[in-house]
């Protein structure tokens, strides 16, 4: 029986829901994570300066909500990278990788599509978890703004998937069980600009931030979170950048994964 993309998506969705159902603490930790991160950052930030200083430097009207939303975005991005980029490694550890490869379709389809529902659910949870905070500070409008942020996160997900697949391909080819994503995660945190303005980073890191989609999502969020009418043109630039990154990363990703499939099947490192 030929396997369609929708079959793989359904399997990924079913697996994610069953996993969450059998791990209720996972659901709880997903909800509470942005609040814990935001609390920690605000507490640490207060050592260096007041919220007022933060507000002045970033131009956001509500720093607490901004940091909360930022934590949600970063968490969502990390979930995507973690889910997609480590999928090959995760399945290799579990021993399920050969059975995924035995699906009667191309391996790259399974490795890219199967983790998508999990990544989507996790990233949605990351943003939705912040909604009660937004409602508390800003009422209905705060919730609406977060939903716009969620749309941006979805958009940012596309290039992130490409980037994650490139990482997954490298992981597959490496004979050691190296988690390449573990290197990427702190780098993204560092250059995303979510917790402090990018301007304070060295020039090289500022350039580097341009290759990560998370930076654009955070920038767009900041425009929305200034709680003035966002500069439409600046927002459009962020969207264009995300589209460009989507094309570049996913193009490279499809070549990388096809190549790594061949190498894996030659070397037998399944």
């Amino acid at each position: 029986m030929p396997v369609k993309v929708t079959d793989i998506l359904r399997a990924g969705l079913f697996g994610t829901f069953a996993w969450i159902k059998n791990n209720r603490w996972l659901l709880f930790s997903m909800i509470i994570w942005p609040y814990l991160t935001a609390f920690l950052l605000i507490a640490l930030g207060m050592v260096y300066g007041s919220l007022e200083t933060y507000r002045e430097r970033l131009g956001v009207s509500n720093p607490i909500l901004y940091i909360l939303a930022g934590s949600g975005i970063v968490m969502s991005s990390l979930f995507i990278i973690d889910t997609v980029a480590t999928t090959a490694l995760y399945h290799r550890w579990l021993g399920t990788l050969p059975y995924l490869m035995l699906t009667p379709t191309r391996m790259y389809k399974v490795l890219v599509i199967e983790p998508l529902p999990g990544a989507l659910i996790s990233s949605t949870m990351g943003i939705l978890a912040v909604i009660p905070g937004a409602v508390y500070f800003e009422g209905f409008l705060g919730a609406c703004k977060l939903l716009i942020v969620l749309l941006l996160v979805y958009m940012g997900m596309l290039p992130l998937i490409g980037l994650s697949v490139i990482v997954a391909s490298i992981t597959l080819v490496l004979r050691e069980e190296s988690n390449v994503a573990a290197f990427l995660t702190p780098l993204i945190l560092l250059v995303s600009g979510v917790f402090y303005p990018l301007e304070i980073l060295p020039q090289i890191l500022q350039y580097m931030s341009r290759i990560f989609p998370t930076s654009y999502i955070v920038e767009a969020t900041r425009m929305i979170a200034t709680y003035t009418i966002p500069e439409f043109r600046a927002l459009l630039i962020a969207v264009y950048a995300l589209v460009a990154l989507t094309l570049i990363y996913n193009g490279v990703a499809s070549i990388a994964l096809t190549g790594s499939e061949r190498m894996v099947k030659r070397s037998g490192v399944i």
Binding site: M1, P2, V3, K4, D7, I8, R10, A11, F14, G15, A18, W19, N22, N23, L94, G95, T96, P98, Y99, L100, M101, L102, T103, P104, T105, R106, V110, E114, R175, R262, K265, R266, S267, G268, I270
Partner: protein, 340 residues
């Protein structure tokens, strides 16, 4: 009608890197397969036998499209494993390891549903197949269908692995050591099921094993692979006939620890025989197995008993019997006999 599985001159070399310090590594080429060829007919249980590292799993991985051969070709139901890999995957059910390969935090039923969806099953058909295979492998009866996989015993894991292989009702089953590490009751259940699937549902079953007892019980044809080459091929009876001129003498003894080293060599020198195998068994005893020519068995037993007494080796049991598949296997894989 073409053979269900056909392997022709399969060659596979692996490049391995041996560490010689923290950074330095030496490249080594391991020849896993050196021209493996065999046919598996439709509806039969075929055993690929061999010691550890003989090339069984490499052969299975090539046939199941998980590995590309360097040379040679293989087909499953007429589909080429390289050119028509997706077609091959549609018609095979595979078990590679009974110990892992499932999600620990999902139940047996949930795991099967997940893998069923990856096979294109959906809705009622999916539920029906999942229920059917859970009953077939006996997990339903054990009340384990809705237990988390992490709570499964090895026997349950083996049954679930077989259930997954059967989920999409494939005509060909390829099972890598399906009973390894199982208790005798679980192993027997799996063996009986495999025979039933071949006889009643006309499925072709290829198993790899180094359990000769198992192969003798369920396989219609066997191939013995060693060091990447097929060294014997035929029915169990045909292989046994090749060694019909050999009688197996078995003694169950307790060898004092201070003389256990070198006993094997001493027996070979004492009797000038072809083969001797020492196998530790329960209670600190050792099973000594000797392959002798017909007519020589009495002489062998007499000499051995005499030597054992003089060396304070206690004898518990003496048995003389026809050669088993295990004897053939030992003779062939040690390369000391001429049965092949």
């Amino acid at each position: 009608m073409p053979a269900a599985i056909k392997a022709e001159g399969l060659v596979k070399k692996y490049i391995t890197w041996e560490r010689r310090g923290f950074i330095r590594r030496t490249k080594r080429i391991v020849e896993a397969l050196k021209g493996v060829s065999f046919n598996v007919e439709r509806g039969e249980v075929f055993g690929l036998l061999g010691p550890n590292g003989a090339g069984k799993t490499t052969t299975v991985k090539i046939i199941t499209t998980l590995l590309l051969p360097d040379e040679g070709k293989a087909e499953v139901l007429g589909y080429d494993v390289i050119e028509e890999a997706e077609k091959v995957r549609e018609v095979i059910g595979v078990t590679l390891s009974v110990e892992k390969g499932f999600f620990w935090k999902l139940t047996g039923r949930e795991n099967l549903k997940y893998f069923g969806m990856l096979r294109g099953l959906k809705g009622r058909e999916l539920n029906k197949r999942v229920e059917y295979v859970l009953k077939l492998v006996g997990l339903d009866e054990l009340g384990a269908s809705d237990k988390l996989y992490e709570e499964y015993s090895l026997g349950m894991k083996a049954r679930l692995a077989l259930a997954r292989a059967l989920l999409h009702n494939p005509p060909v089953l390829i099972l890598d050591e399906p009973t390894i590490g199982l208790d005798p009751a679980s192993a027997r259940t799996i063996r009986e099921l495999l025979v039933r699937l071949a006889r009643e549902e006309d499925k072709t079953v290829l198993i790899t094993t180094h359990n000769m007892f198992e192969a003798e019980l369920i396989c219609d044809h066997v191939a013995i692979i060693d060091k990447g080459k097929i060294i014997a091929y035929g029915t169990v009876e045909e292989l046994k006939r090749k060694a019909a001129d050999r009688i197996s003498v078995e003694l169950l003894v307790t060898i004092p620890k201070n003389i256990i080293d070198g006993v094997e060599e001493k027996i070979i020198a004492l009797l000038n025989i072809m083969e001797v195998a020492l196998e530790p068994v329960e209670g600190g005893k050792t099973r000594v197995r000797i392959v002798a020519k017909p007519g020589e068995e009495e002489y062998v037993v007499e000499k051995l008993v005499e030597w054992f007494y003089s060396n304070n080796i206690r004898i518990h049991q003496v048995r003389v019997r026809e050669p088993s598949l295990e004897d053939i296997f030992i003779i062939l894989t040690r390369g000391k006999g001429n049965a092949s």
